[in-house]
């Protein structure tokens, strides 16, 4: 079984985001970029399935700018077999990305697609579900456990109030939550080997996708900040502040 994994290049999760002075967007100039953390979990899960003999090939795919190839090479160093880069603007919308993935699914016929549940830049949490709808596939979103059993996938999902296990008939789409696994670090020899692994370049036109604008970004502003309050010296003072000043207890 082939597994297709999506990876996205995003701002490193440790970087403090700043809004541009003209409020047109966040400022990404000279900012450290990295693979979206949920995509790292997706790559790790696919590689583990290959190591367990469940998967025969792991293909990683990214839809984005030229620099996205860095994240694809990174995924190859982590154990993916080959990569597909689809050239696109950095702010391509989720539905257009889903259409590009749908076209590759059509061509490659993977048994499973693993994607991060959301990217930490746009926080949309949409692409996997959209892809599942486009290719008429079952979906297991926010997975914290994945078991492949013959032609079924058992996905334990994180839901409000606990966990839910659903059974999906393969081919299926799974999106990863934080607790699915602990991603590994790439070793230096694997980074060197990854440079020789195949990386195909495609355009959206090659895939028959015409990107469509579904929304317009009008403005990006910094959130209203909370100013730091006061430090209290004791529990008694804290209790009296909460009772008399804030009136919340």
């Amino acid at each position: 079984m082939k597994i297709l994994v999506g990876v996205k290049r995003v701002i490193d999760y440790n970087v403090k985001v700043r809004v541009k002075a003209d409020q047109s967007n966040v400022d990404l100039t000279n900012v450290k970029m990295a693979m979206n953390p949920f995509c790292e979990i997706a790559v790790e899960e696919a590689v583990r399935l290959k190591e367990a003999g469940v998967a025969s090939e792991v293909i990683v795919m990214s839809v984005g700018t030229t620099q996205s190839q860095e994240q694809l090479r990174n995924a190859l160093a982590l154990g993916a077999d080959r990569a597909i880069w689809v050239e696109a603007e950095s702010d391509i919308e989720p539905l257009n990305v889903a259409k590009a993935f749908a076209a590759v699914v059509e061509k490659e016929q993977p048994g499973l697609v693993i994607l991060g549940k959301q990217s930490i830049d746009s926080d949309n949490n949409q692409m996997g579900q959209m892809l599942a709808a486009l290719i008429k596939c079952p979906q297991g979103t926010f997975a914290s456990r994945l078991v492949i059993d013959g032609d079924k996938a058992l996905v334990t999902r994180e839901i409000d109030g606990g966990l839910r296990t659903v059974v999906l008939t393969l081919p299926a789409i799974v999106t990863t939550d934080l607790r699915l696994n602990e991603p590994r670090y790439a070793k230096l020899p694997d980074i060197m080997k990854a440079k020789r692994k195949p990386l195909d370049t495609l355009s959206l036109a090659d895939l028959g996708v015409t990107p469509k604008a579904h929304y317009r970004l009008d403005k990006v502003e910094a959130p209203s900040t909370r100013s730091a309050g006061i430090k209290v010296a004791s529990v008694d003072e804290l209790i009296s502040k909460l009772k008399d000043e804030a009136k919340v207890i």
Binding site: D123, E158, D160, A228
Partner: protein
């Protein structure tokens, strides 16, 4: 122009997030229909019919909808979509699952997790874990939107006269996935996402056993228990207690953080709380920059003392 609001409920009552969703729907300004989907949900539909501002309730009652699986939910909403300019739902694990399916099947974009309505087309939503707020205009004829409940008022009036409830006979075929089991955390405490008071613990609490100290104070205050990702990852508590960018977004009247340093991902989940209290040994912890009341101290001394003095 009509808005379809998809209700969140537990099969017996509407959630407060649904009321927040209704406030958002009212701000959009159209007639509002509420869709109640599930199995044996007539009483929920009846409850929705008495809410102020609701013109009609649609009730889809069938076995296939019992667990709100994404595939049948998506098919049902798409079946109803032609009558609506806006399809909205409170952001929760169910709507995050099926709403993007609805968008893709309608070939429209989705505006996720809005925190303000500027007009029927223009909305604000947090990006980068709430470190920036984007204003976006939805360009499609049908707007598919999820609503961050904590940003909207839940105080909806009840009407004396109920609006009509229409039964939806459409039954989606569900062949793609099936429910196997649920492992729901049993708790007598208030629900984290709607609690008016929350006591949260972080890595500083040190162990699952020590969380009893957090729980004792929560019980004294009638509060929900929350946790930072660090505490969840360390296995102190279950992951459905996580407050943060990828966990629950909360906005209680009182949020008390014990042993939480205040990573931006955690702050993204709780900084809209009305009053924030932070207790931490490290006086430079970032949580103090957002706390109304900070106490530099050992939580193992502070927690029992507070619990006994309240």
């Amino acid at each position: 122009m009509t808005t379809l609001l998809i209700a969140e409920h537990n099969s017996s009552t509407l959630s407060s997030a649904t009321l927040c969703g209704l406030t958002a729907a009212q701000a959009i300004g159209n007639d509002i229909h509420v869709l109640v989907v599930g199995k044996n949900v007539e009483s929920v539909a009846d409850e929705a019919a008495s809410l102020a501002g609701v013109a009609k309730v649609l009730c889809a009652n069938a076995d296939v909808y019992e667990y709100a699986l994404a595939e049948p939910m998506g098919d049902l909403v798409v079946h109803l979509a032609a009558n609506y300019s806006h399809i909205i739902a409170p952001s929760n694990s169910e709507s995050k699952d099926f709403m993007p399916r609805v968008s893709a099947l309608l070939d429209v974009g989705q505006v996720s997790d809005i925190c303000a309505v500027l007009s029927a087309e223009q909305f604000k939503r947090p990006i980068y874990a709430g470190n920036a707020i984007a204003t976006v205009t939805a360009l499609d004829a049908t707007k598919v939107i999820t609503v961050r409940a904590s940003s909207f008022d839940k105080n909806i009036k009840q009407n004396d006269q109920k609006c009509p409830v229409e039964t939806i006979d459409f039954v989606a075929e569900s062949v793609l996935s099936s429910w196997q089991s649920d492992d729901i955390t049993e708790s007598t405490r208030p629900d984290l996402s709607s609690a008016s008071r929350i006591v949260s613990g972080g890595r500083g609490v040190g162990s699952g056993e020590n969380f009893a100290l957090v729980e004792a104070l929560a019980d004294k205050l009638g509060a929900a228990v929350g946790a930072s990702r660090a505490a969840v990852d360390a296995g102190f508590v279950s992951n459905d207690l996580q407050v943060g960018q990828t966990g629950k977004i909360v906005a209680p009247d009182l949020y008390m953080a014990f042993g939480i340093s205040g990573a931006i991902q955690h702050l993204a989940g709780m900084k809209d709380s009305k009053v924030i209290v932070a207790v931490n040994k490290d006086e430079d912890a970032p949580i103090f920059q957002v706390a109304d009341y900070g106490l530099v101290g050992d939580l193992f001394a502070v927690l029992p003392e507070m619990t006994s003095k309240l």
